[in-house]
Amino acid sequence: MGMTITEKILARASGQPFVLPGDTVETKVDAVWVTEIGGERLTDLFKDFNEIGVNRVWDPSKVIAMVEHSTPPSSPQSAAGAKGVRDFAREQGTIWYEMGRTGIGHQVMVERGHVRPGDVVLAGDSHTAIYGAFGAFSSSIGAMEVNGVLLLGTTWFEVPPQIKFNITGQVPPWVVSKDIILKILGDFGSDIGTDKSVEFAGPVIESMSLDSRLALCNMGAEMGAVNAIIAPDEQSIAYAKQHSNKPFTPLYSDPDAKYEHVFNVDVTGMEPQVAVPYRPANAKPVSEVKGIKFDQAFIGSCCNGRLEDLRMAGQILKNRQVHPDVRLIIIPASQEIYKQCLDEGLIKIFLDANCVVCAPSCGPCGGLDKGLLAAGEVGISSANRNFKGRQGHPDSKSYIANAGTVAASAVAGAIADPREFV
């Protein structure tokens, strides 16, 4: 019987010839990253282990340390975290990226070549499913488990049941992977992928850009998936080769791999989607929510703060202004993306439109960094999650959409359809 990509990666990483859903495997880890969140505790990690003489991470070349969610730090707490992770990186000799060389951790991992097809990549961040865009097995683990990986270089997984979304049809203008995944969440529910491995396949995925694939797999977290994954292809393999000098062997699902369910999704005629508070699964076509007022728009995040998203925003914002009743914050997901935006003239467009452009970081998403919402305020953003209070005060609320919809809404001063702006 055949295996899926995920099963094959877990089998290879655990030294098994074959695995089945339900098997528990101890997998080797190819890369794990740590950040300023909890950074102040990283240097304490080894105190408990001194008695047994363990005082080094298992392999510093596989540990990536960076300041990323909140850069530059906006509170004494996050400054302490940044100092902690910096001290840890120096003490342990791990790979280290200082602010000014980073951005949101997930984007840095990709750009700096720490993600290769077939790898196992982990982090204590719930959107770690993102690297499946490269055909890697990537999954979020708890903060304590990150410590476990730092010590052992391994962790355990229960091989998840496999499901597949086969995405077909003609992708309409101004519909991107964000809309497709919001629609899937709306149609199938936010627990459709709970404890499962989700593979995305089909002609729409094959012709999809890497930026869009990253956003799609990132949103795997919102389905509760253990991991989300897309088969490696020329595009993702070429990117990985260009950005990493370590060899890798991609893996692919067998034709007779077993899936618990295969869902077919036809995107023909799909509208841009907007998820209303307080769940990404509350997706509605933009035409149904047009005209809803909000206070703040935000374009950025590890979901939709990449070049493709900022280009969409630029198309809308060129020669236009943000409506005076609202504000639009734009945060490129990394230093690299920021530079590309400068080269393409996008930053000028954003500034001329009266947007606030900030240094790469998570911004309002996660409620940790900057641009937070006050009590009673409403936001619309290109982020991945709109739980209650996610972007600021517990009594704030937010809508999520693609970057074009957010930009169009900022110009209109109320939720708007980007298709009416071009």
Binding site: S126, A143, D195
Partner: protein, 177 residues
Amino acid sequence: MDAKLILRGRVWKYGDDLDSERMAPTHIWAHTTVKDEDLAKYAWIGIDPDFHKKVRPGDIIVAGKNCGYGSSRGGNHAKTLKATHLGGVVAESCSRLFARSCINVGIPAWSCAGITQFADEGDELEVNLETGEVRNLTKGTSKQAKPPSEISLKILMAGGLMEYIKSELKNKQQSAQ
């Protein structure tokens, strides 16, 4: 049998889709300093602010589907529950990340389809983690669930992930000698 393999406690019952943000709100964790002795006060705070006053050691949370979905919260949702000496969490379906975070601090958390029909708030439950049998002592009924995985049980029995890793590292050192 190790006593810790049997849980016994009163049920506190909650609904579906309890997200991680409500379990450990960002405004508390990112913008204030929570002292260790205050951890229990913040347990379940965005779901039931009085939870820490009501819960007794060994009590069991019964929840609906998709319990704990969302972010990893630095494990703070699990740590605060641990501070209340909660016995365990049984949900129709439990987010893997939340369940693992709980297990890592020594709280059994796992999925048991049908549990919300089986137990009402205030019922006394007895759970055998090894066999997966859940008994409702108040109603005199019993139910079979899939027990937590072997590795989860090992971590729970060790008292949490760090203790488990310590024993694993010790074993490695001993076998290398």
